[in-house]
């Protein structure tokens, strides 16, 4: 049975390096990906992850377990990101109008795009979002951190976190729309009108029943 983070932290606080090594092995991939997604540089992300764990080890005695170890670790990573990108702090606490961060027209898309292509397109687009959006989206979807936990990591109000996530997703929706408009008329038509697509099919099947049930 896998030992919990809390138990490993307790042992590591007594100086048990093996316990800390287990924590490193368990969380280094996530910590590394947080850094990599924000910085976009492999070598820098490696240095930052290394530094974050060393700081975590040195500050472990001050960790009282009020938050999860991951939340605390991501906070360290975030603080290191702030050192590297000083403007990030300012951008995290302010919310500019959505129009100001709308992307440039995206490249024409292939004539046909299926769900996989759409997801691949979105994976490419998400790396081009502003750093603050990449950061909140990573924290939200990498390990399912709650809004409250993300707010604790970033040291911003929970409402700000929700706004950033909403706007980031809104941006990705807008980019999809432009992508469709750019060169995939048939695909757009299918996405908009094809009631046989899984989502719409389910909705189309469910709605009449709901309406009937609702009178």
């Amino acid at each position: 049975m896998q030992e919990s983070d809390a138990a490993l932290v307790a042992r590591a606080q007594q100086g048990d390096e093996a316990a800390f090594e287990q924590l490193v092995r368990r969380h280094q991939r996530y910590a590394f990906n947080v850094a990599y997604r924000v910085l976009g540089d492999y070598a820098e992300a490696e240095d930052m992850t290394q530094e974050a764990f060393v700081r975590a080890w040195r500050g472990l005695r001050t960790f009282r377990g009020q938050a999860k170890f991951t939340t605390w670790l991501y906070r360290i990573v975030h603080n290191l990101c702030l050192n590297r990108l000083p403007h990030l702090r300012r951008e995290l606490v302010q919310s500019e109008p959505l129009e100001e961060v709308l992307p440039n027209p995206v490249a024409p898309l292939p004539e046909r795009f299926e769900a996989q292509e759409r997801v691949a397109f979105l994976h490419a687009q998400v790396t081009q979002l502003p750093e603050k959006y990449r950061l909140v989206l990573t924290l939200r979807y990498l390990q399912d951190l709650s809004y409250q936990e993300i707010a604790a990591v970033l040291d911003v109000p929970m409402g700000t976190v929700k706004t950033h996530i909403h706007r980031a997703r809104r941006l990705l929706i807008e980019r999809q729309r432009r992508w469709e408009e750019c060169g995939a008329q048939p695909g757009q038509a299918r996405a908009a009108q094809d009631d046989n697509s899984p989502d719409n099919a389910a909705l189309g099947f469910a709605l009449p029943r709901l309406q009937e049930a609702g009178g």
């Binding site: 390096e17 800390f20 090594e21 490193v24 092995r25 280094q28 991939r29 996530y30 590394f32 990906n33 990599y36 492999y42 490696e46 992850t49 290394q50 764990f53 060393v54 080890w57 769900a115 759409r118 997801v119 979105l122 994976h123 998400v126 989206l137 990573t138 939200r140 979807y141 990498l142 909403h166 997703r169 809104r170 990705l172 929706i173 999809q176 729309r177 757009q188 996405a191 908009a192 009108q193 697509s197 989502d199 719409n200 909705l203 189309g204 469910a206 709605l207 009449p208 709901l210 309406q211 609702g214």
Partner: protein, 181 residues
């Protein structure tokens, strides 16, 4: 939150909450009623769902293979290069030694300042001088008794014999040790 989203604008504002399952059953039902008759909003829903799917499947980049080792090399003091650290014990020993030397010096100065102590010091110096003279005389007698030049050689030989004797004596078990066997 809009309880009865009717227009496309209202529906689109609520779509993300709908995708996340954050709408109440009433809100969700009203939204679905709108979606049933609006292909444009259905397309928007498909986009919102695709975004969530993409974010949930955002691929993880593998970390560098030696990352754990590098982290632990910095964490573990065994693998660290030895770092200079000042221990309290070092400081205490150094200060004590300095204080002892300083105290001895003061004592010596104080003793020399009295006639009695000065006399005592003079006696010690005189004894030392006499001993030195006696040793020189003994050496001179030994060198005259033997072949000239053999005095020093005999002294060195004697010293070697003495050292050997001491070494052998040191290896011989003491009576108590013999009993112990």
């Amino acid at each position: 939150m809009h309880h009865h989203p009717g227009s496309c604008t209202d529906v689109r504002a609520a779509l993300q909450a709908y995708v996340d399952g954050d709408l109440s059953p009433e809100q969700a039902a009203a939204l679905k009623r709108h979606l049933a008759g609006c292909s444009s909003c259905r397309a928007e829903l498909a986009r919102a769902q695709a975004v969530v799917t993409a974010l949930k499947t955002w691929p993880l980049v593998p970390e560098p293979p030696q990352l754990t080792g590098r982290i632990m090399a910095q964490v573990s003091p065994r693998l660290d290069a030895p770092r200079f650290r000042l221990h309290w014990s070092d400081l205490v020993i150094s200060l004590s030694g300095a204080a002892l030397v300083f105290g001895a010096m003061l004592l010596w100065r104080g003793l020399l300042s009295t006639d009695q102590a000065y006399l005592c010091a003079a006696r010690i110096a005189l004894r030392a001088h006499v001993l030195r003279l006696e040793a020189l005389r003994l050496l001179q007698r030994l060198s005259h008794a033997a072949v000239p030049g053999w005095g020093w050689l005999s002294l060195a030989g004697g010293a070697c014999v003495l050292v050997l004797a001491l070494g052998i004596w040191g290896r011989v078990p003491l009576p108590t040790q013999r009993r112990g066997r």
